[in-house]
């Protein structure tokens, strides 16, 4: 069977990596013995294998796989294990799903007034002071009447 092998440098959490494969080239492989279709072992000619390749697409299964565990068998052939990438394989269906967004890189969708428990805070503090815009406690003690003398009786008004 033919697969398309390439290299993906993207974060494995990327939903759709199909467009991110580089150095893509077809490769003829066989399936080694019986294997789980989610974790197939590809048997291929070592001359056609690029050790930098970490990703492949199996058109017949319409599935994408991470490649790992290259094993040289006899100097001519090697096996490479594929691990199903469910995100990219089912990316079209996943994109149509609905859900509740709880964290996002997109600041246009984030809620800046919801507490973020992941935000790291240091123990040291910054401190700032802000004066109110007026102070009434500005007496001229020499000239202003700032004393109150209370007497018994007096010429109360």
């Amino acid at each position: 069977m033919q697969i398309e092998i390439g290299t993906v440098d993207a974060d494995p959490r990327t939903l759709d990596k199909s467009g991110l494969m580089r150095n893509v080239r077809p490769l003829q492989v066989q399936i080694d013995k019986n294997c789980n279709i989610k974790k197939p072992v590809f048997l291929l000619d070592i001359s056609g294998y690029n050790t930098a390749a970490n990703y492949c697409y199996v058109r017949g299964w319409n599935a994408y796989y991470f490649l790992s565990e290259p094993v040289v068998m006899d100097g001519v052939r090697c096996t490479v294990t594929g691990t199903l990438d469910p995100l990219t394989t089912y990316a079209d269906g996943i994109k149509n799903l609905t859900g509740y967004l709880v964290r996002t890189e997109d600041t246009a969708r984030s809620n800046k007034f919801v507490h973020d428990p992941h935000m790291p805070a240091q123990e040291n503090r910054k401190c700032r002071s802000y004066d109110f815009n007026r102070s009434p406690f500005t007496a001229n003690y020499a000239n202003d009447a700032v004393y109150i003398l209370t007497v018994i009786g007096g010429n109360h008004s």
């Binding site: 859900g99 123990e123 007026r134 406690f137 007497v151 009786g153 008004s157």
Partner: protein
């Protein structure tokens, strides 16, 4: 397993399933199945293999005078059988009645009953009064029965009343062919012509048995209500014959008039619309029969109307209504299924808040769910909040329940007959309590006749001292001129120490005239007896009132980060002469602070208030502290000792109160003497107690929010405080956040949005994603869901 699909879902016959579909609602159109293109589907339970949804649709309909109509209908892509409509009439901004449509061929619909134009008080079916014990004469009901063989038979009970017409004529009346005059057997004919208009004829008579009743609902009375008693018995429901027994007694000396509708407007019951029936109850003490009422049984007429009033949504009337609706939803036995109806809140809330029926409802709006249990007893929900949060639960809801069970629903309860309005938040204008802005109570002056307060400048104060203490040549001169002093102006002799007339002398950090009103200067001072006071030529002003107020400025509270972090900042406000108060950042952020002082000139004590005009336009008080604005100055040895004792004693008392809690707040005269300062004074004297205790108390005050306690700044006492800061200031402390530059890409920021995954970009984390639509096995589905929950990059 019974799976429930939910709104907004549209049943597609060809696909044979319900799919989510975004849609809009047309604002007008005749009802035809083809135009019925914008359904809101309610809940449904699959009836065997065929799901039977109840669809809520919405459009405007003219012709009947209705501005909006909302219909519930059963749609299973087969012949639609029943629908229930509610109409919103814009001219009186109310939701009017409800009536059933029915159709046998899904092409034309007939409305079973007409539309009420007014809601009348509807007798709650639980208000059944045992008329036999009421002491009133009551009537029974008169009925005629149409039998299967086409004959009519009298079904009157008790024979207290008899319709004067025969059964055929009753039929004519029902058909609108003639009017009636009712006669009370053995008594006078009622002097009111019961003129009734009905659209009962809209119902196609199917030849089955049924019993005809008239009934009324609601009544008013005028004249002498207190002595004209009306009693109503009866009710409606599947177990009760829907009729009302009515009796009245007028024991007043004047006639009373009763109207048989609450609003004196045409009312309706089960399709028979009748005008207001007014009858005068004479002033005779003898009880009188005043009416008889016939009604239509629900069991006899399955398509009977159930009035609908959004304000009475949870009343037993609605139980009745939804019991009918539940039968429409699905024909499967109740023992095998739950049924529910979900209605957008805006469709049934008090219509005064709606001027237009909304064009659509979305996931994010609020819904109320009515769930019917297996006994067909409706259970009512609270407002469910965002529909988006409900939908995932209902999508996987199974009975016996997993995510949703009966416990999620309030049991149906009886509401009082009078409509209870939905609670609404108070207007901002009604905001009271802590928005107090100190104001000087006018008239609380010094004119008590016992004391006088003089506002004095320092130079004049020295002059007074000179008058009192200098100029005496020797002790005899002092005794003669001071102890046994003769008033130079009046000639009176004082046999006492003049200093006993001086109560206090205090200095303030701002002009007295800036705090309160004072008389013009140049006043002489009179001391002692009003009949023969000691008169000193001075140059003083008289302080008019005991209380002064000071505006200490404003501050627009600045944001630091512009996000949630601002609302957990540590904020303290320093109030000169009082101390510090810790403020809640969530209360003040984005608002404007204002500081005020009120001063008690009798004691020199002050109260400082900080008000906040919050971002949403309300005014709240965020801090109030007591302090000492006036600094006591000694005048004599005794006075000096008293002043010091007050200062020192306060500290002792405060120290005790720190350990045991402040016993009382500082208020008014005597506050200084009591020494029970609250607020910052306590904090200011922290140094006088053990450091360990202080630290522990500070930590408990700060809680876990900060490992480092906010500084407690004390205000001084006495003249020493005059050297302290004289401006109110706000101190804000913030942690330093150390988010890396790629924080958003690596961790993201919190979000609160129901979305379609494909519409998002960048790093995203999702919950409540239904992956069952992904055509793969459970293992892959689980892996996908876990990946979405841990975060993916789109």
């Amino acid at each position: 397993m019974i799976k429930a699909d939910f709104y907004p879902t549209r049943y597609t016959a060809t696909a044979g399933k319900y799919t989510d579909e975004a849609f809009t609602i047309a604002n007008s159109g005749e009802y035809t199945p083809e135009n019925f293109a914008n359904p809101y589907m309610m809940g449904y339970i699959p009836a065997g293999e065929v799901p039977v949804p109840l669809i809520l649709s919405n459009w405007t309909v003219d012709g009947d005078g209705e501005d909006r109509v909302i219909h519930f209908r059963r749609a299973n892509n087969e012949n639609m059988l029943w629908g229930l409509s509610m109409a919103y009439v814009s001219n009186n901004s109310s939701w009017d009645g409800a009536h059933f449509y029915y159709s046998s061929n899904d092409a034309t619909w007939k409305r079973v009953t007409g539309l009420t134009t007014r809601f009348s008080y509807f007798i709650n079916e639980t208000e059944v009064i045992n008329y036999q014990n009421s002491g009133y004469y009551t009537i029974s009901y008169v009925s005629v029965k149409h039998n299967q063989d086409g004959t009519w038979s009298d079904n009157t009970i008790n024979n207290l009343f008899k319709i004067s017409k025969n059964a055929e004529e009753i039929r004519k009346f029902i058909a609108g062919e003639e009017n009636w005059t009712l006669q009370i057997a053995g008594q006078n004919t009622l002097d009111v012509n019961y003129s009734m208009v009905n659209d009962y004829g809209m119902l196609e008579y199917d030849g089955g048995d049924y019993t005809i009743y008239f009934c009324f609902y609601g009544f008013t009375q005028s004249g002498a209500p207190s002595s004209c008693a009306l009693s109503v018995t009866g009710g409606r429901g599947s177990s009760l014959t829907p009729f009302f027994k009515f009796s009245a007694t007028n024991t007043n000396t004047q006639d009373a008039t009763i109207c048989f509708t609450a609003s004196n407007a045409p009312g309706e019951f089960n399709g028979i619309t009748y005008n207001t029936i007014t009858h005068t109850i004479s002033s005779s003490l003898q009880p009188k029969y005043n009416g008889m009422f016939l009604g239509i049984t629900d069991s006899d007429l399955p398509e009977s109307e159930i009035p609908y009033d959004p304000n009475r949504y949870k009343s037993n009337v609605y139980k009745q209504f939804f019991m009918y609706a539940s039968n429409i939803i699905s024909a499967i036995p109740l023992t095998e299924a739950y049924k529910y109806i979900c209605i957008p809140n805006k469709f049934y809330k008090n219509a005064t808040s709606m001027s237009n029926v909304p064009a659509s409802a979305s996931y994010n709006e609020n819904y109320t769910v009515a769930l019917f249990d297996k006994s067909n007893k409706p259970l009512w929900t609270r407002a469910t909040g965002s529909f988006a949060s409900l939908l995932p639960k209902l999508q996987i809801w199974q009975y016996p329940g997993t995510d949703i069970s009966e416990n999620d629903f309030d049991p149906g309860h009886i509401i009082p007959p009078s409509p209870r309005p939905d609670p609404v938040p108070p207007d901002d204008d009604e905001n009271g309590g802590d928005d107090y802005e100190p104001n000087d109570p006018a008239g609380l002056g010094v004119g008590t006749g016992f004391t006088t307060m003089y506002a004095i400048r320092s130079a004049h104060l020295r002059e007074l001292g000179n008058k009192l203490w200098t100029g005496f040549t020797d002790i005899n001169d002092y005794i003669n001129n001071f102890i046994f002093a003769v008033d130079p102006n009046t000639g009176s002799v004082n046999f006492a120490d003049i200093m006993q007339f001086f109560i206090s002398l205090r200095a303030y950090p701002c002009p007295i005239s800036a705090m309160t009103s004072t008389s013009a200067g140049g006043q002489d001072m009179y001391i002692g007896s009003g009949a023969a006071p000691i008169h000193l030529n001075t140059n003083f002003s008289i302080v008019d009132e005991y209380i002064g107020t000071i505006n200490a400025g404003e501050l627009e509270v600045p944001f630091w980060f512009g996000d949630y972090r601002d609302y957990s900042l540590e904020c303290i406000v320093y109030l000169p002469y009082c101390g510090t108060a810790e403020l809640n950042a969530a209360d003040i952020m984005g608002g404007k602070l204002s500081a005020f002082y009120t001063v008690d000139f009798c004691t020199g004590a002050c109260m400082a208030y900080v008000l906040c005009d919050t971002w949403d336009g309300t005014r709240i008080r965020v801090a109030s502290l007591s302090g000492q604005l006036g600094a006591d100055l000694p005048m004599t040895a005794t006075n000096a000792g008293q002043v010091a004792a007050r200062m020192y004693g306060d500290r002792i008392n405060v120290a005790e109160n720190i350990l045991g809690g402040v016993k009382s707040a500082v208020t008014g005269i005597g506050a200084v003497a009591s020494g029970n300062f609250a607020g910052a004074v306590r904090q200011g004297f922290d140094a006088f107690i053990s450091p360990a205790l202080n630290e522990e108390r500070l930590k408990s005050q700060m809680g876990t929010r900060s490992a480092i306690a906010a500084p407690m700044l004390s205000a001084g006492r006495g003249l020493a405080s005059f050297t302290d800061a004289k401006t109110v200031f706000l101190q804000i402390r913030s942690p330093i956040y150390a988010a890396p530059s790629n924080y958003n890409a690596a961790v993201g920021q919190p979000a609160t949005d129901a979305v379609t995954i494909g519409d998002c970009s960048g790093f995203c984390q999702f919950i409540n994603v239904d992956v069952s639509g992904i055509t793969t096995d459970a293992e892959d589905q689980r892996a996908i869901r876990q990946a979405l929950e841990s975060g993916v990059i789109i």
